[in-house]
Amino acid sequence: MTNQNDHLMGAEAHLTTVDAAEGFFRKLLNKNETVQNVVNWSRKWSFFQYPFVTACCGMEYMATAGPRYDYSRFGCELPRFSPRQADLLMVVGTITHKQAPVLRTVWEQMADPKWVISFGVCASSGGFYRNYATVQGIDTIIPVDVYIPGCPPRPEAVLDALMMLQDKVQKERRPLLPVVNS
């Protein structure tokens, strides 16, 4: 008895897991993508965010999370409240000098690959808090990938930032596996 899929089954028996996964993604995308592109594709659609919410921007963040704007459409609906489980740090609100070491520690605790969104003018530049207490932009402490202006930003601006970050992640070229001792 012959099956028209026999040759495939025979071929799959010799595939490594990586080859099988790559084949799966190629079929899924229906394109001749490189592995890097496929990995980037899966990363950009499954951000696990850590919301570092300190101020009124948090309300707009919640609005973006809600059903009307619904950022789960961009694959980042699940906030993780441990930086160890997150790969997207969203800094939502004013960061004071008193709090700066905490933010820095949270960022350092996140595993690579990781990205940072600065949500609102206070996080991006200090906003109108040009005073002794406020950090004048979180990029003085941690690297930032996307800045969202606005006081607070509209949910559309947040979604725009997410799409910009997705584009950025798709274009990334970083080692797929950590290289030990080299």
Partner: protein, 165 residues
């Protein structure tokens, strides 16, 4: 609304009050700093004033406007009588200290710590006088008018190529 309370204070402590005014319900009395504790105790316990709530303690830096430089401001409210009164006490720059009212109003523990933190006015007899909003290593008192406006005291250094302001 609180003219009653102000009149009562002037009647009983006329010698402790330096100055008083009442415009559109902002009844205010400026009292001598050394008599402040006495005045506050009276305002709290007297049945006519009965100021049960110390709703705020703050201060004003009158640098270049008035001598002595600081005024500590107490906002009192009577829940039972629904009346308010503002008490101010002048404090000098050379020796910025005033007696605490924490033994009269428990809430003053945090309120006086805030004034100490931001203005550097010491409250004598306070049980735990240390900074409340800013971090312990902060130097100076930022709401003083002579605090350098662009001066920053970051706790961690800036990233390479960046700087705090």
């Amino acid at each position: 609304m609180s003219k009653v309370a102000l009149d009562r204070l002037l009647e009983k402590f006329g010698d402790a009050v330096i100055e008083s005014h009442a415009n559109h319900g902002d009844e205010t009395a400026i009292v001598k700093a050394e008599r402040l504790h006495e005045v506050m105790a009276f305002l709290r316990d007297d049945p006519v004033t009965s100021m049960e709530l110390l709703s705020d303690v703050t201060a004003v830096d009158l640098l270049g406007i008035k001598e002595p430089r600081f005024e500590v401001v107490y906002h009192l409210y009577s829940i039972s009588k629904n009346q308010r009164l503002r008490i101010k006490a002048p404090v000098s720059e050379e020796d910025p200290k005033i007696s605490t009212v924490t033994d009269l109003f428990k809430v003053a523990v945090w309120e006086e710590r805030e004034v100490y933190d931001l203005y550097g006015i010491r409250f004598e007899g306070h049980p735990d006088l240390r900074r409340i909003l800013l971090y312990p290593e902060f130097e100076g008192h930022p709401l003083r008018k002579d605090y350098e406006i662009e001066h920053r005291q970051p706790r961690i250094p800036a990233r390479e190529g960046r700087h705090h302001l």
